[in-house]
Structures are given as C-alpha cells and as structure tokens.
Assembly symmetry: C7
C-alpha cells in the first residue's frame, strides 16, 4: 500500500527508539508512548493550501522531530507499523 | 439517489475492512469503529471556497485515507451503506 | 409569510422521511430526530459576505443534504412546519 | 431616547407574538422565551467593519428573523420594552 | 490622571442610573450590576489596528450603549469612579 | 540584565501603588493582586508582526494601563521586581 | 544529533539557573519548574510561514526569555538535556 499525501501533508513513520536506563535495562514500552522522532515516508505536493502558498521543505528519508498530539495515526493493516499523517507545519525540525 | 457535493466537499464511502486477528478470527465489528479508508463517490466543483481558491485533487474511484472525526455521516435510506461527506482538506492521502 | 434570506443564507424545509424497518413497521418519530435532507425554500443574494465573494449554487426546489447541528431552526407559526436557515456552506450536497 | 448604532449594528425590537394553542388558549409567556421575530428600529451606517466592507441590507421598519442567542439585550428604562442590538450578519431573513 | 487610549480603544465612564421601581422605591444597587450606558471620556487615535484601518466614530461626551462583559474595568484610585476601557467595536450604539 | 523585546512586545514594570483605605490603613498586599498600572521599561521594534504592520506607540518611561491577565510575568532574579512582557495591543491607555 | 528547525521555529536550551534563597540555600529544583530563560541553539530559515513573511530576529547563541507553556519539549536521548522548540513569536525578548 502506497500513500500519496494531499496538499501539505506528510506521512511519517514514528521511530521507536529502544531506551536504556542508566542501569542498563531496555524499556521499549516507555519510548512507545511519545514517539517524537520519525522518518518521512511520503510528502504531499504543497502548492495552494487553504489559500496560502506552501513550499515543501522535507523530503522522503528525512529524520524529523514532530509535534506530539499533532496529526492522525493510521494503520495500513499489512504490518504492525503505525504511521502518522501530519501537516508539514507540525514538523518541528529535521535531524541531521 | 445521486449526491452532487457543493464547493470543496467530497462524498466518501467508508471501506469496512474485515480484520483478522493473528489467531485467524474475523472481527468485522472492530473495524467498523474507525473507518479511515474510503472510496471517493462524488467530488464537488472546487473553485472559490470561503474566499479561497480550491483545486480538487481527488477523483471518483480514488481510495483515500480520511481524518477520523471529520465530516458528516449520512445514510441514504436506500441501502444499509453509510456515507461521509468531508471537505477535501480532511482527506489525508490517496492510496495507490 | 415569505422569508427573504440575507447574504449567503438559505431557508430549508427539512424532509421528514417516513422510515420503514425491515419488519415493515413505519417509524416516523425516529426520522424526525435528525432531518438531514431538506428542500430549498428561499436563497439569499450572495455577494460580499464577511468580506468574501460568495456565489449561490443552490436554487429554490433543490433537494439537499445539510449538516446536522448547523443553522437556526424557526417556526412561522402558520403551520406546524419547522424551517432551518443555514449558511450555504452548511449545505453538503444536492440530491439529484 | 434614540439609539444610533455603530458600524454594521442594528437595533431590533423583538415581536412578542401571542401564541394560541390548538385548544384556543393564549400563551403569551411561552412566546416571550424565544423571540426570533423582530422589527428593525435603527440601522448602523455599515462601511468598513473590522477591515471588511459591509453594505447594510435591512432598513427601519423591516420585519426580520434573527438568530437566537445573538446580540445584546438592552432596556431603555423608559418603557418595559426590551431591545436587542445585533450585527447585521445575525439577521437571517427579512419577512415579506 | 488623564488617560490617552491606544489604537481603537475608548475610555468609558459607566452611568449608574438610579432605578425606581413601580412602587417608587429607588434601587441604586440593582442598576450597578449591569451598567450598559456610559459616557465617552477619551478616544484612541484609530488608524491601523491589527492590520486593519479603523476610523473612530465616537467622540468625548457621547452617551453610548456598550456590550456587557466587554472591556477592562479600571479604577484610578483618585475617586470611587470605575472606568471601562473597550475597543470601539464593543460600543453598540450612541444615544441621542 | 537588559531585555530587548522582539516584534511588538513591550516590557512593563507593574506599579504597586500603596493603597490607603478610608480609615487610613495602608494595604500594599491588596494592590499587589491586580497591578494594572505599569511603567514601560523596553519597547520592541514593531514592523511586520504576524504578517501585519505594527507601529509602536508607547515609549520607555510611559506610565500605562494594561490589561489584567495579558502578558507573561517574568523575574530577572537580580531583584525582587517582577516584570510583565505584553504585546503592545494589550496596553489600553497611556496615563498623562 | 543536530536539529535544523523548519520555517520560523527555533530550538532553545532552557537555562536552569541555580536559585539561592536569602538564607543562602541553593534550590535547583524550584528553578527547574519554570525555565523561562534559554539559549538559542538553532534557528529556522523564516520566509513564508502560513502565508505570512517572517524575518528571523534571533541568532544562535542569543540568551532569550520565552513564553512558559509555549513550544514542544524534546529530549535527544544523548544527554539529560531537554530542549524546547518554539515559534519565534513565542520568544518574548533577548537578554543583553
């Protein structure tokens, strides 16, 4: 299943970082709760969005920080992977 | 009954995917609760919407992901099918 | 009593479809609760509405689907008929 | 006391229609609760309102339907009459 | 203390009308609760306010009706008089 | 520590007027609760703010009335003085 | 990990000032609760943001005061440092 976002929307695949406490115990569940890092999977065409010109500034493959609570979570059903579709403006920064 | 949407509105027919758990049991009821995939049934003309120029980017027959909680659910009364009328901007992505 | 709507407002007469259950029993009361289908009774002139140019796209006699919870319900007092005055943008689709 | 409304504001005198039930009993109190019909008493000059050009479309003497819950109720103190000052956009339709 | 309002703001001195019931008893306290009539004490220069051109239409000495719940109540400390600073758009009508 | 406000922001030093009741007792605590008078300490450059041209109309040293509940309270840590940073539009009037 | 903010966003590193009470006891925990001072770590390119031209006025290394409750808190995972990404307009003042 390939997703082609409309307008200024971006499909993100949240990155579930395995988190290690100082004592060395891995806590994957904890990290799952607020996935703020994600990989860009698909990018909308931009253009005139709600009457305003938007230029897309992220590209497929970028690692990004996105705003918690923004966007819509979707499941494709094919795998266990959850995706989030956000407006580009909900992406805060690109990680280099 | 044929629906002709106004402005930037789009008539969607939610897709009720039959969901199979790992144990192989079909759970159609569960899937019914959040139909996020839909087929585009009718598309408004676009144009000047609330003072802003809107170009329609989806077409009849497209499979789309739309935002939960958006739109207005309607029943035509002819069949048991429920439809949802959304603004095009509530459509997140086209599925290819 | 004739109503002449201002701006982009439209007077609708909700259609109370008699609903028949599968067992054949007519349930008019149920249908009364969410009248989403209506007939257009009068249409405002459009023009500059709240600083934005609006063209009226519905006409008297059109059957339409309108958004639940939108508009203002009025009674003329002459008959038992209730009317709803909505902004044109709250009309979702014309039924053909 | 004469009221001269500013901008796109309109002074309305709600009409308290005496309501007769089917059995013939007059219920003036009931009607008092939601006066939606009113007579236009004074009309503002329109012009540039909040940065948007507004043309006044109602005139003194018009009978109108206005939106419940809109506007500000005032009493002049001279008589028992209550008036409501609304923005013209809260007037839904003129009654002819 | 002289107040010079900024932008489209207006300093009002609410008028506490002594209210006489039909039985002739004066009820000043009652009237105090919702002072909707006021005298214009000072008027801002208008001009570009929040990106929109505003022309001031009231002048010092005008008696006006203003919207309950709007504006900010201030006390100068010099006398017991309370003043209210409102945006001109919260003034509903001038009393002539 | 010198604060240079951005855009249309203004640094205010609330004035804690000592308040004397009619009986002559000084009540500094009471006055502390709603400091509406303030001295302008620093003024932003104005210019294009949120897409709108803003001209600064207050200057350092002005005594002003500002809107309760607006702005952000800050402490510099150097003294016990609290400052408030507001947008110029939250300043209601200059005291002359 | 280097963060490159989009649009008018700015990455801030809150400054946790060690706070000394008058009795000389250091209270780092208290200060942690409302970090309003921060150092600018990275600055977005500005330009057309939500249809409005934005010029960036802060630069990397600036000490700033930012609005409590604004922005999104992030952790990079590399160190214990928390960062906040805000829109430039949530920065109130530069500290010189």
């Amino acid at each position: 299943m390939k997703l082609v976002p409309l307008f200024d929307k971006v499909v993100l695949k949240p990155l579930v970082a395995e988190e290690t406490t100082k004592s060395g115990i891995v806590l994957p569940g904890q990290a799952k709760e607020k996935p703020q890092q994600a990989e860009v999977i698909a990018v909308g065409p931009g253009g005139l969005v709600d009457g305003k010109e938007v230029t897309m500034q992220v590209k497929v493959g970028d690692k990004v920080i996105f705003s918690k609570y923004s966007g819509t979570e979707i499941e494709t059903g094919e795998d266990d992977q959850k995706y989030v579709i956000v407006k580009q403006n909900d992406i805060l920064a690109v990680i280099e």
